[in-house]
């Protein structure tokens, strides 16, 4: 192989490799792929939060045109009850196995018909009778069923004597923060097409990791994993909501088994809301004590989240309390509250995103009580080593993020008194927050073939759910092989490509890159006869040091400016800037898109998002895009993001993940800005109109309410 380039592909901004396909409609997502003999499955879901299916009357449905049949718990193929997920056994995978309804939205039947319209019409004609039982959705940190969360992600912090330090503090802030149940809302609804060839299961599926989905399916069907073939070429977003083997995939495999035809299940948007997964509700109590000079002495972070008894889950809200600040005493307590809820799943920046809202709001409250600048307070309390583990950070460029962000945002000119800036009827405020998100690597395999025509085929079980993995990994492979990116062909999104971590935990790109880099190394040592293709395959399982003796984290500082109309409660984000330390950046254009997108989701969380449930049934009352608002174009300003120079020494190429850090700090920055604008703390998300609205005194605030000033709100200008 000739080193035909001097400048590396890594570090250069390049548009997405599949960009041309995506702007012409040629990129095919799961439900777009034609399939001969295809039939369509339509889910029917439970409308009560707890109960038992007494009867499924399919007599009408079965007589309707095009209907092949109906699956329910009485006739569905049996699945292996020992199948599980990342955390262990997972009852939410065991669909149509018994009559128990564990949450509202649980699939209770599947109708299969020749066309989607026929399947839908027949599903509407199905009469399902459920005996409802009393349900419990009363989430509360002190709920009788509350229990300590799993410590699978690491032990709780218990450094120093929290009570003693608090007693010695000049200022103690103790406040309770709440975040609602939220929905991932990837634009592509979950979809799957499954068919059996002998005892091999084939599937096209919208997921974040085809390999792990194939593992779950193999377990459910008690067959060798090599007999399960899952492909996911283009995936329309995931954000954690497609991280597990979804109900569409399991049910399609069951229906195909039963009816002997390829079965497609494209979930409706309402079903995605009620049946897939959500970010759980949290309630968090943060206690922070400081000396009069702004030195933190104690950080206590107690957090509770809701989960389903069907499966273990960790919403690690308290992680940042172990990372962000130096204090003699740090205590974290994470509590799981089992309720009859939709089982939660990681959602962009799991744990860190709701956790950061609480912790970084509380830090802002400390700055308020001390009357110090919140940037200065943060800079004064930076740790030299990880404050709980005592380990050195592998890299920690947080101070650079804060300083660079403050400079670009013009923070120095800020009057820190609340309610100090007005434009006509509008109150203007600025706020900021810092964030960290754990980084690392998981085992994966990669194969690289040096083809006889001088090109290289790189095969890795990666997923590109919009992260740009296809483009980034091509650059990584090109540099590892020392060739131009144009000579590298990447194959991803296929469980047959071997064991691989999925797109999640901000660990996809680092895990796949590690395997590609090692495979390239191996290949370069074996190249001989250019007339024959040569393949090198590497599994990184044995190469990863899981106890590196250093804390590996990414960092950010987020700055926000808001305009608030106290007469209407409308909050508009006018400026949003994030500065990030995420190791070496592979492709600045796409990386910026990732962190900007993360911040947009954080903005959306701050102002809009909330799953609302009917108190009587526990059913979602706003399970569609008209009721569950995600930020639209008009809500989003020209978000700015940049990266400070950084290099991750624990990664062979200096990389860290960046898919989730963008979301983590944003809600707190916006909430802090709303406080600065209005003088009122927003400790419950989202920051709805009714939580901001104020009585407006006659003749005072209506003055200056001119056309032009009003446009500053509606235009976000």
């Amino acid at each position: 192989m000739s080193p035909d380039r001097t400048v590396g592909a890594v570090g250069a901004s390049r548009p997405r490799i599949e960009g041309g396909l995506k702007v012409t409609g040629a990129a095919r997502y799961t439900a777009d792929v034609p399939m001969p003999g295809l039939v369509h499955g339509q889910l029917v879901t439970a409308t009560t939060s707890r109960g038992r299916v007494r009867d499924v009357d399919a007599s009408t449905a079965l007589g309707m045109p095009g209907v092949l049949g109906v699956l329910d718990h009485r006739n569905a193929p049996r699945l292996n009850p020992k199948a599980g997920n990342y955390f262990g056994p997972d009852g939410s995978l065991l669909l149509l196995q018994d009559e128990v309804v564990p949450y509202a939205g649980w699939p209770v039947a599947l109708v299969v018909a020749e066309t989607p319209e026929q399947a839908r019409a027949a599903a509407a004609a199905l009469r399902v009778t459920c005996d409802a039982e009393p349900h419990d959705l009363d989430f509360d940190m002190d709920h009788p069923a509350a229990r300590p969360a799993s410590t699978a992600f690491g032990p709780e912090a218990d450094t120093g004597d929290l009570e003693a330090e608090l007693a010695a503090c000049a200022v103690v802030v103790e406040e309770r923060y709440r975040t609602p149940e939220e929905s991932h809302c990837a634009m592509e609804p979950h979809a799957s097409t499954a068919w059996w060839e002998g005892d091999h299961l084939h599937a096209l599926d919208a997921n974040q990791g085809a390999f792990s989905v194939s593992e779950v399916l193999a377990a459910l069907w008690s067959i060798d994993r090599e007999r399960v073939h899952v492909r996911s070429e283009h995936v329309g977003g995931g954000f954690g909501g497609k991280g597990v083997c979804g109900p569409q995939m399991i049910l399609a495999s069951m229906a195909s088994k039963r009816f002997g035809r390829p079965v497609r299940i494209a979930m409706t948007r309402a079903q995605v809301f009620e049946t897939t997964s959500s970010r759980p509700r949290t309630e968090q109590l943060v206690t922070i004590g400081a000396d009069a000079d702004g030195r933190l002495r104690a950080v206590g972070h107690r957090a509770a989240y809701a989960l389903s008894p069907l499966a273990e889950y960790i919403e690690a809200c308290t992680e940042q309390a172990k990372v962000l600040y130096a204090a003699p005493a740090i205590r974290t307590r994470l509590t799981a509250v089992p309720l009859d809820v939709l089982p939660p799943a990681s959602m962009r920046g799991p744990g860190a995103t709701p956790g950061s809202f609480a912790l970084e709001s509380a830090i802002d409250e400390v700055a308020e009580r001390l009357d110090v600048d919140p940037v200065r307070l943060r800079l004064r309390n930076q740790p030299s080593v990880a404050p709980v583990s005592g380990l050195p950070f592998s890299t920690r460029r947080l101070v650079s993020c804060v300083q660079e962000g403050a400079r670009r945002f013009g923070w120095a000119a800020r009057d820190r008194r609340p309610r100090s800036r007005r434009e006509g009827p509008l109150l203007i405020g600025t706020g900021m927050a810092t964030a960290s998100f754990s980084a690392g690597v998981f085992p994966s395999t990669a194969s690289i073939t040096a083809e006889v025509d001088g090109t290289f085929t790189v095969s890795v079980g990666a997923s590109d759910i919009g992260t740009g993995a296809r483009t980034a990994l091509t650059a990584v492979a090109a540099d590892a092989l020392g060739v131009d990116a144009g000579r590298v062909r990447l194959r991803i999104g296929d469980s047959d490509l071997g064991m691989a971590w999925g797109a999640g935990g901000s660990r996809g790109t680092t895990s796949w890159s590690f395997a590609i880099t090692e495979a390239a190394k191996e290949l370069r040592g074996r190249l001989g006869d250019p007339a024959r293709p040569v393949t090198a395959t590497v599994d990184t399982s044995a190469l990863i040091d899981f106890q590196p003796g250093r804390e590996r984290q990414t960092f950010s500082a987020v700055f926000a400016e808001v305009a608030v109309d106290p007469a209407t409660g409308e909050v508009r984000v006018r400026r949003l800037l994030g500065v990030f330390a995420v190791g070496r950046v592979i492709n600045p254009l796409l990386a910026r898109g990732q962190v900007v997108g993360g911040m947009v989701m954080g903005l959306s969380m701050a102002l809009h998002e909330e799953s609302v449930r009917d108190p009587r049934t526990g059913r979602l009352a706003n399970g569609d895009f008209a009721g569950y608002h995600i930020a639209a174009h008009a809500d989003v300003p020209d978000v700015e993001a940049d990266f400070v120079p950084d290099y991750e020494p624990l990664d062979p190429s200096g990389f860290n993940g960046l898919g989730e850090i963008g979301t983590a700090g944003t809600a707190a920055a916006i909430a802090n800005a709303v406080w600065h604008a209005t003088g009122t703390r927003q400790r419950t998300l989202p920051i709805r109109l009714d939580r901001v609205l104020e009585p407006v005194a006659a003749g005072k605030d209506t003055e200056g309410a001119t056309e032009g000033a009003d446009h500053a709100v509606t235009r976000g200008a």
Binding site: A567, T568, A621, G627, D635, L689, P695, V696, T702
Partner: protein, 331 residues
Amino acid sequence: MREFAYQRAARVHDALLAVAGDRNARYLGGGTNLVDLMKCGVERPTRLVDVRRLPLDGVHVAPGGGLVIGATTTNSDAAAHPEVRRRFPALSQALLAGASGQLRNMATVGGNLLQRTRCGYFADLSRPCNKRLPGSGCAAIAGVHHNHAVLGHSAHCVATHPSDMAVALAAFDAVVRYQSLDGGGEIPLSRFYLPVGDRPDLETALPPGALITAVALPGVPGSLRSRYRKVRERASYAFATVSVAAALDVRDGVVRDVRIAMGGVASRPWRAGSAEAVLRGARPTPDRLRACAEEALSGAEPLPDNGYKVLLAKNLIAAVLGELAAAEEVG
């Protein structure tokens, strides 16, 4: 969705005949609401009579300076029409505040008037709803009603009307024109929507089988300024939390005419007549505007979780009137 027959009417009379006597027949306009409700199973017609291509579109200036807007005029065309923008700015603004560009290109003026509520329980077949299934009860009263009515509701229904356009039409004293097999007729918008009472399923005074053909707006003096403001939980593409259409005519510092209508607060566009009386003939001082806003909500009966709408509506009325009064001083 249940199977249905489809026919496209070439003339109004054909459409009327096709629907006559068939209680499972529906007129199809832009379809933005009807097709949606058919997908949800709320509407289950066996026959659709497509009226979208009837020659009922266009905006015409009427003698006396009013406008007649044809029923099949799209929301986009009505909003962009120079005469609508010049004479009735609040109507153009209300249309533009509704839905999205795509939906406005589809939706017709007639269909907009006949939109059904977006109360979640109305579309949830597993729950009671007196509007969908008379006599079944109202799930919203003891359920989720954060965005429901504070005025004019009853123990049978607390849903709101979703239209923005109708709020502006209410402020401008619009008249709905229709055709039926018995002939033509007119209904003032103020009487077009029925009070909720004990039959929330009966929403309009339109005779059975009648087809809306146009909306007529009486002329207004050039000195009447108008404005529509919509507050919602997103900056765009969301239904109103509270909206206000207001018009103000101030001459020599005295209010000659004032119109106030609210959206998002009741089962129909809510014209605040008694509040208008507070301002008419008076000077539009901040105190007077506030008193007017207070009067507009004096009959409010908020539900346990939507009391904020009362304050929001008062603030919004005062703000919009304040803007109109300020513009009056400048202009």
